[in-house]
């Protein structure tokens, strides 16, 4: 009965669009994270360190203009005549280092509080002194050169990694809560009972809910990719990004099965959303939605293999950003559909039309 499918889908869609809470938590809230992470952690490789030059330091001042321009990308050099004030500023953390020259020695003053920045400055200064030594020794063409190259596309920025992770989390929230809350609210408000008394078939009812959830997930995808692709954030999708669509469809099924399971246990919408939260939030952390799991303990990595979101995140990263072929997403799609079948079957056995 396709009429029933259309009208039930319409009723669910309107119910979702008019629910400001649902809109906030499935779209706006994750979007805030995307904007926050994407904006804050822009260009992580080229963040400049501020240093102060006390008096005149020859290796800076006598630098060729071309080398100076390169240096400016890494270090921002202020000049100061006052040694004590400069050192005080380093102590307070205003500058990563203060540099002065005494005779042929270049002295770098740094604070132990920010070891990462002072380490960077130290490395940069070391190479500058090295270069100056080579020049003064008459070596203009060095025997060896180091050329560091990133393996990913040059344009790879934080936003590239953040977008699939946060999008995955948003889809998990939308599908899990959508399924759990519909089930519990409709059971509590006796809508399920009312539908059972109408000639609507159960597959039509399930089909409508699945269709609406997939629609919501694809809407999330469009909004997230759209915003992350703004020049300010600078997301660049690789050629096979469209493989994210079947991935998201499969993942929506998997997350919905979790929501249906939560909805089978819960009697009230409050309990349902508590259970869903208890599942989705830890899953998001353990699946690397917010930060990579590279440094996580091995047991965390093992646990994460059981989570559908982990597979969604990895596969989306592969096809949307890392430029992998379309086939790379197939194992993840298989896993997600399998997860949905197993958990969905359990949920079907626990399903109740009525509270009593």
């Amino acid at each position: 009965m396709s009429r029933g499918l259309v009208s039930l889908s319409r009723a669910m869609t309107l119910g979702f669009i008019r629910d400001r809470m649902a809109l906030f938590f499935t779209i706006l809230f994750p979007l805030m994270f995307l904007v926050l992470f994407g904006g804050l952690l822009k260009d992580p490789g080229t963040s400049r360190s501020d240093i102060v030059e006390i008096g005149s330091v020859a290796v800076f001042d006598q630098m060729p203009a071309e080398a100076k321009a390169q240096l400016d990308q890494v270090l921002k050099i202020d000049k100061s005549g006052d040694r004590d004030t400069s050192l005080e500023k380093v102590r307070k953390g205003d500058y990563a280092a203060a540099v002065e020259q005494q005779g042929s020695t270049v002295i770098m003053h740094y604070s132990a509080t920010d070891q990462v920045k002072s380490g960077i400055v130290r490395g940069v200064l070391g190479s500058i002194v090295q270069d100056a030594n080579l020049v003064s020794a008459g070596v203009t063409v060095p025997a060896y050169r180091l050329d560091a190259q990133q393996v990913e596309d040059d344009s790879l920025k934080t936003i590239q990694f953040i977008t699939p992770g946060i999008l995955g989390w948003a889809i998990a929230v939308g599908a899990t809560f959508g399924a759990a809350l519909t089930l519990v609210t409709w059971r509590q408000k006796k809508i399920l009972r009312r539908l059972r008394l109408s000639p609507v078939r159960t597959p039509t009812l399930i089909g409508a809910r699945v269709g609406v959830s997939i629609g919501v997930a694809l809407l999330q995808m469009a909004i997230f990719i759209g915003i992350a692709s703004l020049p300010y954030f600078g997301l660049k999708l690789s050629d096979n990004w469209w493989m994210a669509i079947p991935l998201i469809v499969a993942a929506t099924l998997a997350f919905m099965s979790i929501g249906l399971l939560a909805g089978s246990f819960a009697k009230t919408p409050e309990a349902a959303s508590a259970i869903a939260n208890l599942v989705v939030l830890p899953m998001a952390f353990l699946s690397g939605s917010f930060f990579p799991l590279d440094n996580a303990p091995s047991w965390v990595k093992t646990v994460s293999q059981a989570l559908p979101l982990k597979h969604l995140n990895d596969a989306m990263l592969d096809v949307m950003v890392r430029g992998q072929g379309p086939g790379s997403a197939l194992p993840a799609i298989g896993l997600l559909v399998g997860f949905a079948l197993v958990v969905g079957t359990i949920a079907a056995f626990l399903f109740r039309w009525d509270d009593v």
């Binding site: 009723a11 006796k190 008394l197």
Partner: protein, 313 residues
Amino acid sequence: MTLTIAVHGLHKSYGDVHAVNGASFEVQQGEFFGILGPNGAGKTTTLEILEGLRQADSGEVTVLGVPPWPRNPALLPRIGVQLQATSFFERLTAREQINTFASLYGVGPRRADEMLELVGLSDKADTRTEKLSGGQAQRLSIACALVHGPDLVFLDEPTSGLDPQARRNLWDLLRDINGQGHTVVLTTHYLDEAEILCDRVAIMDHGKILELGPPATLVRRLDAPTRISVESGLISLDDARALVDGATVDGAVADGTDGVEVVDDGVSLTIATRTPAPVLAALADRNAMRGLSVRGATLEDVFLNLTGREFRE
């Protein structure tokens, strides 16, 4: 006449609780049928079995000629159900609500608008159901139950929680619906409602049907005394007693036995008698009829007599 519902020897237990214990009744086509009973009497279970939501343990049930269990998609479009809770989809307007239900039955939006008109909600068509008053929500849920033109309508306590005005409006609506040929089965908490609306009522308790028949017949069968009240002070208590004794043919006295008595509560003097005509004549002779009211027994009295308890608990 054709039978719309036939129930014979119906049993249903939940664990140790025998919710329905051998109920039998029939409902004719076009009838307005009421099921009354205190909470826990088995009304709701009976209704749920008729609707096909539950399976009977034993007994024969046919609705519109077929068994309602297991769920029969061919039967469902022929019945309409208004549930106790107003079960609406969240955040839809009245019109969207009824359109959704209509389309589940393959009924178009024009019919949905007509139903809104019928229940007097045309001006509320674009209001979200959460914002409707109790009476408006009840009327909408009845409209949703009727939108596909069912032969048989189940109404579960349709007027509970409504103010007197809204109840009366709803009664008119229910009478109209029945008048259009829909068979109506109603459960209610209000005996006055059943008395006014129903062609026949079944009084249930402990899972059994105690009495079955037209309300007026049940009341008459009770043979309860008629209560005649006039304003206090028009006639003294002793005079009234003498008057009752004089007017009694079969020698009953106003001593409270057999329901015959005289009571003055300071506001009204009430005479309960089985021979109201001579009493009224005597009162008229003495010009003591100011504030007169004559009340026969009601369904409430029948109920009290049958179950030994107040209707509402």
